[in-house]
């Protein structure tokens, strides 16, 4: 099987994020592989390993695909050190400020040209938090959408079954190759790259392409930010130390605020 994993480099979850001219300032913060994409890389590796492996000459390949600036190679290198075979990075000045629609258009073109059977994504990025790109890729390619999976079972003859878990409930869903899968946190425990993996990743190929090489033209975002204002920090209120009546003080506060 040819498996593609879509990943994004995001500002570190712990970093303070700021907007500059209506877009997220990505330059002055530490950047990491999106937490939730690690589960997608892990799941791809596990699927490959369960069906003949992805070693050189193995039955499967796992390719990591990302769109972003040059430095996104760091995030790709992390995925490669976990065990993915190779990576594709789409970098183009025309993609600055791209929205989810443009992102999904570029990724879809790369995926359809690559001849993959499975595309695996995380459910959302920890920066934009839209959770829309997997569904958009599925809609653009006309592939089966198997998203919010807490369990994925692949029959290499061409079908995938998943357990979809959302706030609405649990669904069992299946579809035929090719399909787009997104996985929730907790589907697996992503592996730490081994020393051997890290060394091997340095020799793996990251193919960099611009929009012309991908074969799509730049489109401006279809939604615009009018303004972005930091909200005033919350001020700390009353703090009491429990000396036997802390619970009662809490109740008094609730009553005073008419919350009970």
């Amino acid at each position: 099987m040819k498996i593609a994993v879509c990943v994004k480099q995001v500002p570190d979850s712990w970093a303070e994020k700021k907007m500059v001219n209506g877009v997220l300032d990505r330059e002055n913060v530490d950047a990491v592989l999106n937490d939730l994409d690690e589960y997608a890389v892990e799941e791809a590796l596990r699927i490959a390993e369960a069906h003949g492996g992805n070693e050189e000459g193995g039955a499967n390949t796992v390719t990591v695909i990302s769109m972003g600036p040059d430095r996104a190679t760091e995030a790709l290198r992390k995925a490669l050190s976990m065990g993915a075979n190779d990576a594709i990075l789409i970098t183009d000045a025309g993609l600055a400020g791209a929205d989810a629609l443009a992102t999904s258009a570029v990724l879809s073109k790369v995926i359809s040209d690559g001849g993959y059977e499975l595309v695996i994504c995380g459910t959302e990025s920890t920066d934009a938090r839209m959770s829309v790109v997997p569904a958009m890729i599925s809609a653009r390619l006309g592939w089966a959408q198997l998203t919010f999976a807490s369990k994925v079972t692949v029959d290499p003859s061409g079908t995938v079954s998943i357990t979809r878990v959302t706030e609405a409930g649990v669904d069992e869903i299946s579809g035929a190759f090719p399909c787009v899968i997104s996985v929730v946190e907790k589907i697996n425990e992503p592996r730490y790259p081994s020393f051997k993996g890290i060394m091997a990743a340095k020799k793996k190929t990251i193919e960099q392409k611009d929009l012309a090489a991908v074969g799509v033209s730049a489109t401006s975002a279809w939604s615009q930010v009018n303004d972005a204002t930091p909200r005033p920090p919350r001020a700390a209120g009353v703090k009491v130390t429990d000396e036997g009546s802390g619970g009662s003080a809490l109740v008094d506060f609730l009553a005073e605020k008419k919350l009970i």
Binding site: S138, A139, A249
Partner: protein, 317 residues
Amino acid sequence: MSNVFILADFSGDKATKTTAELATAAARIGAVTAVVLAGNGKGATLAATVNQGPIANVLILESDDFAQFGVAASADALANLIKEKSPAAVLIASHAFGKEVAARVAVLTESGIITDAVDVAADATATQLVFGGSTTVHSKVSHGTPIITVRPNSVEADLSASSPATENATANIGDAAKKSKISSSQPLVKGGRPELTEANIVVSGGRGTNGDFAAVEKFADELGAAVGASRAATDAGWYPHSHQVGQTGKSVSPQLYVACGISGAIQHRAGMQTSKTIIVVNKDPEAPLFDIADFGVIGDLFSVLPQATDGIHAKKS
């Protein structure tokens, strides 16, 4: 006056409060048509419950494909309806299903999309709280039909009774939307507690519970609240992951948020700091979450919460 679509939101056979919230926001833009996607023969029953909020019309699309093919079929039918009727905007609930339907509709109708709006103005400008609620953003769709998903519990719903005119339309669903098939569907077993993202009050437990959520749950039940948990608590397996509040879990903004034994890493704050009132109970006086608490109790949650639970109970009786 222009026409605006909302995708009616249901829990079982009943329209949710979210439907009225969507209608309330949409009514600022134009006359509201609630689109009801239903199985064959079920439309009238569902539509009859769409009776709160400023809704002028209900448009029923019936097909058994909705239950069988889920998100893709729903999005296809809605997209085809949008192409036919050209509404001024489309508002959809911002949960997993709603966001994915919106995503596909945006692709299919070549329209811009904004997710997780907490408010929508008359000119369809959406307000979002980003980066864990630390920044307010106003944005607007500039291409096609604005597709906006609105977070449950954000817009104050006009719950006045309405008796919209009901009409049926054909559900047009193409083969490309029938690629993933649902073989079984288990609605979430609802305990007595409200859904985390829709609750007016959320009580959460963290590392300080040491795995014992009994005191947190009892206090939550006394308040009629939903129960949340920090990532530390869900990672330790103390509470189901579906209850995690934070950057990689759910974002909540209830009227009241009570954090018990949670120190307040950015990861957690990102999911709750837009709550209207925040109460923190923690043994550690240096816990960073105290910095954003309207009321803080430095103390052991195992003595503070039971006392508070009894206190509320006494006030009620």
